[in-house]
Amino acid sequence: MLRFAARRVLLLVPILIGLSILVFLFVRALPGGPETALLGENATPERVAQVRELYGLDRPVYEQYLSYVQSVLSLDFGTSITTRQPVVEEIARRFPGTVELTVTAMLIAVAVGIPLGFVAARRYGSWVDNLSTAGSLLGIAIPVFALGYLLKYVFALKLGWFPTQGREDSLMFRNEHPTGFYVLDGIVTGNPEAAVDALRHLILPALALATIPLAFITRITRASVLEVAGEDYVRTAEAKGMTRPVITRRHILRNAMLPIVTVVGLQTGLLLSGAVLTETVFAFDGIGRFLAQAVFARDFPVIQAGILFLAVIFVLVNLLVDLSYGLLDPRVRTR
């Protein structure tokens, strides 16, 4: 198992290198050159010359790449054109918000999707099955921001059950954010109403974001359970007289989980990119919204750092998925 894990982690390296090359080229591919990327379009010639010297843009490419790698490794991603703050700080500040949002969304998707898919498979052809299929189709087809608007309109504007935007009611929190994870902050500072407030701000965006992964997870769970239930070894378990709960748990689910876990990993990518849209709809202060604003303002240092950051998270999550495969499927780890 350890060897398997080590091999998988090593495979990460070329991907990370590749990503860094991709981003490196990205900035230099901009019409107007990397100077535009760093300074924006309205830079004075003096500043352009300054930047050129500072970043060594007149030096050969491989030297530039090396210094780029250096700065990446020291977490220096430059300065945001719009806010004039170091990009790293801006991202770090907003990172917890996106984490809260995406983790909540994935929890919803998994907690609802897997049981739903399972029940749909067991009651194949019933109204539950058909309803879940219709529901998941709808979930796949609705763009996440459209759903966001729908939820916002119905539950926030019309019914008033939830706030329409933001992460918190600042009066409640009085700016005490030790961890940056607002729900946690409320608990940690002994301010439960604030925690609840943070949760209320979290629910609508999380629901909107969760819909697509939920739909896919339901579908794959249903398909996987159906396939596994028809396998010979399930028949063997029945012939051995094992009870239904045991067969479901030990034989069906344990084998059905494999493709489900893969899908969960892939869906994280959709969650991360969906966060950009959802956070915008709900003015939720996370990396997604920051990235969306940066796109609008052509703030390239932020755009490039934001995408790189989210991509790395995606890669790490998929690594986790790969490793968990090793735990779940002995055929993989014993080769």
């Binding site: 070329p14 991907i15 590749g18 990503l19 090359i21 991709l22 990205f26 591919a29 901009l30 019409p31 189709l137 709808l138 796949i140 087809a141 609705i142 763009p143 996440v144 921001f145 459209a146 608007y149 729908l150 916002k152 309109y153 504007l157 990518g269 959709l270 991360l272 990119s273 969906g274 950009v276 849209l277 915008t280 709809v281 990235l291 969306a292 796109v295 609008f296 052509r298 390239f300 755009i303 490039q304 995408i307 989210l310 991509a311 995606f314 890669v315």
Partner: protein, 304 residues
């Protein structure tokens, strides 16, 4: 009761053309019977029809403004003359939705075509040559796939500037690794199949085997993927437009941007958000259903 003395058994190794013809006929038959396919195909045809005949179908011009009826915070809703009402600049919503179909269709088709052709070319090279070509292409695909597709598209579109072309290129590029992998994988499995080996042992050159047999038989998953990619492309294009990455011209009725513009008026005119959203859902659903139905129909494992 008839009974032939020595019945020739149907061989498993039928000629590839026969196998392909049989597969297509089978697939078509299955498609006709599947409700998923019928609904999907209907929605897709509806979408394409509306897009193509937009100028004829739309009652008004999508850009003509009639500000006389519009007051801040109060736009006329659906009426007899304007079935879906007017938007914030007094334009007929229905016409805008109808013309929006054109943009979605064009963007979808062009971007998937770009992604599919470049992707297939790379996949063909990788599958045909193997070796370092294969590794290079696959590593490149892996790296591109390490970035979530919408984010990659955002990055590329931001790079290329605000225009519909950059959206099409961005989504196209994002699709390249998927098609490359797909074709390469299909070719790899076909290459080792019995008929390919048999052909080669008969002296048919490798190139011919690849071009005339392996490649055509690898197309089924590509067709499925292209249909599903169209569904995703429409959503992604809407997402990019939502973020301001489409055409900078505010009069262009792109569904994603129309949705973005309604944010300010959501409380008073929620319907304006409903129509573009509904339009996107219907078109995406159509391609998705059709793609899934095609996948089931073309799956050789399901042949009886």
């Amino acid at each position: 009761m008839s009974l032939s003395g020595a019945e020739a058994q149907e061989t498993e190794l039928s000629q590839p053309e026969e196998a392909r013809g049989g597969l297509l006929r089978d697939a078509f038959r299955r498609l006709r019977r599947s409700p998923q396919a019928i609904v999907g195909a209907t929605l897709v045809l509806l979408f394409v029809f509306v897009a193509i005949f937009a100028p004829v179908l739309a009652p008004y011009s999508p850009t003509a403004q009639d500000l006389s009826q519009v007051r801040p915070g109060n736009f006329p809703g659906p009426s007899a003359e304007h079935l879906l009402g007017l938007d914030q600049l007094g334009r007929d919503e229905l016409s805008r939705i109808i013309f929006g179909a054109r943009y979605s269709l064009i963007i979808g088709v062009v971007s998937v075509t770009i992604g599919a052709t470049v992707g297939m070319a790379l996949g063909l090279l990788a599958g045909a040559f193997g070796g370092w070509v294969d590794s290079l292409v696959m590593r490149g695909a892996d790296i591109m796939l390490a970035v979530p597709s919408l984010l990659l598209a955002i990055g590329i579109a931001a790079l290329l500037g605000r225009s519909i072309t950059s959206v099409m290129i961005a989504i196209g590029v994002v699709n390249i690794p998927v098609f490359a992998r797909l074709l390469r994988g299909a070719m790899l499995s076909q290459r080792e199949s019995d008929y390919a080996l048999a052909s080669r042992s008969l002296g048919v050159t490798k190139g011919r085997v690849v071009l005339k047999h392996v490649f055509p038989n690898s197309l089924a998953p590509v067709i499925v993927q292209a249909t599903l990619a169209l569904a995703t492309a429409i959503t992604e294009a809407a997402g990019l437009a939502f973020l301001g990455l489409g055409s900078p011209d505010p009069s262009i009725p792109e569904w994603g941007r129309m949705l973005a513009e309604t944010n300010a008026y959501l409380a008073s005119e929620p319907l304006l958000a409903l129509w573009p959203g509904l339009a996107i859902v219907i078109s995406v659903l159509g391609f998705y259903l059709l793609g899934e139905a095609l996948r089931e129909a073309l799956d050789p494992k399901l042949r009886r």
